[in-house]
Symmetry: C2
């Protein structure tokens, strides 16, 4: 069971780089080489994050990307939702009605509880927090 796919992992690291740049535009190329992320792959992730209003871009020479949202308001939960879909358990959950299969629904109850735990844990982890941790680690 993989918790984070490359998508999410790369996105987090790209956002960390952008947060560290603090208002300067960073090009996809710069992020890719700095964070060791495949360039074309990264570009798609960046586009996706623009669509979700996490970052903005400037086209043309000396263009690049910049954080739009406060890094303390960008949670790992959000990124998981964008790149891996909403944290969920089984299809059963989506049909709002209680499903016919009783044992499936008993299970579902337990798992929805865990889902909440996972989500709230990931919510505590923001890009802002990670950046501070990272800079603290680098000062040592």
């Amino acid at each position: 069971m993989k918790v984070l796919t490359k998508n999410t992992d790369y996105a987090i690291r790209a956002l960390l780089a952008l947060a560290a740049a603090r208002g300067r535009y960073l090009s996809a190329k710069a992020i890719a080489s700095g964070q060791d992320i495949p360039y074309q792959f990264l570009r798609r992730l960046l586009q996706e994050m623009i669509r979700h209003n996490l970052i903005i871009s400037k086209e043309g020479a000396r263009g690049g990307f910049m954080l739009e949202k406060d890094p303390d308001l960008i949670t790992v939960t959000q990124l998981i939702e964008i790149f891996q879909g909403k944290v969920q358990v089984s299809e059963c959950m989506f049909r709002k009605q209680i499903c016919g299969n009783r044992s499936r629904c008993v299970l579902r109850h337990e798992i929805m509880r865990i889902e909440q735990v996972v989500q709230s844990e990931f919510e505590k982890v923001t890009i802002g927090k990670l950046l501070r941790d990272l800079e603290a680690a680098n000062r040592k």
Copy 2:
């Protein structure tokens, strides 16, 4: 992000059926139709669970499967490990040494913490507990 795949979901429900049968042998066919699980698919899962000493089987007519392990000692964590692989975060984790990429490792630290949370939550959920919940629900 899907927490449980069909594999695990089916396995849990099959084990619940076996726990409910309390020492009688249940055939794959009976489990499949009762729990609405594709028959051939289920058979593979059952074989896998035999290999992991969760259940035993009896061949031939009137044969079937029976729990081997105490249902209170079968946790969802174990089933996830069997059918979806150990709960993990990124490849980074497996290389024991600290990886070169600092930001990846800061992230990793946070995520290993969450991993622990998830695992311990799923450990609380045993087949025995689910069965009791299920039977309580059915009495209502």
